[in-house]
Subunit: 210 residues, 2 copies
Amino acid sequence: MDKKKNISMAVIKRLPKYHRYLSDLMRNDVDRISSKELSETIGFTASQIRQDLNCFGDFGQQGYGYNVSELYNQIRNILGLSKTYKMTIIGAGNIGQALANYTRFEKLGLELKVIFDINPKLIGIKIRDIEIKDIDYLSDYLKENTIDIGIICVPDNNAQKVCDVLIKNGVKGIWNFAPVDLVAPENVKVENVHLSDSLLTLTCLLNDIE
Amino acid sequence: MDKKKNISMAVIKRLPKYHRYLSDLMRNDVDRISSKELSETIGFTASQIRQDLNCFGDFGQQGYGYNVSELYNQIRNILGLSKTYKMTIIGAGNIGQALANYTRFEKLGLELKVIFDINPKLIGIKIRDIEIKDIDYLSDYLKENTIDIGIICVPDNNAQKVCDVLIKNGVKGIWNFAPVDLVAPENVKVENVHLSDSLLTLTCLLNDIE
């Protein structure tokens, strides 16, 4: 795994897609696949695939292809999926509730432990047996319980404040759905889902074809 | 706008962020900003900013900075936001309902016209006055009404089928939330929000710091 430190952000961003496709291949009992065949399904060029996969080990064998399960397991390890993660959602609005209702993440080893909100009407309610607690209790909760990933679904003007509380209490991963760019120290990892930005990328592309 | 055709996907992906920051500056009555100052707020390097903004016109003036409103309007145009868009959501599950409840998009000129679902319990219900219709009626609806953007929130095994119906009926923009990569012709633009991929990017980064 020594090679891992050299993996660029561009490669990291492609890894979940490899993971998705390889798990499909595993489900379909495919043992081996060439970079050319993988290229046809996944949509990256064969040379791109060879280059990406070379970053973290020597899996391909000339004229023989990749061992699917070995490659899958290696990518799973690099994605950190040999561990489990405890998550909290802060903000039980539309997106927060939608994410709380997702069961897909649990299958990957990511467990939602608790939800926080400021709205008295929501506090005490359970979503899939997961309680919505008062946000005032967030800091205390984090002192008593280990949380690996905080999912920020609060309005933009409160996002940094929530982020600061999470970081101060040792949360190392922030999944941010608020349409702001959060400030966090180097040792805290922030991944953004900026829905408006994504939609505006689409209008930009649409505008281009006319 | 002739320069626009040369804008790379990497720059396009950064434009919504410029749009966000420039609209903040407009709200705060900032008239001019240097690439250095913009760099400090937005987090791109000053040289990156100069290079990006050069792609679509000559806005900077040495020692004087950018005219915020001119730059904002130009980026707004390039993002296609001088037009309006009609949207439909297909799949009124967790994410579909969350998106239907968003009002942020309307302010940008993106109007949700109708929602479709397969579930009889949901058909006929309204979300913010927008009706959930039977998915069987999707094709007929699209023949009678212009829709610019189809938002796919159905389970992965149905996503391509829905995508095909949208494309067949002239929808040119697909905003895809299903965790699959859709096949679409060149003249149809697909923008993906792959939530699991985003979360796995985060676990990958977390795994790296330990």
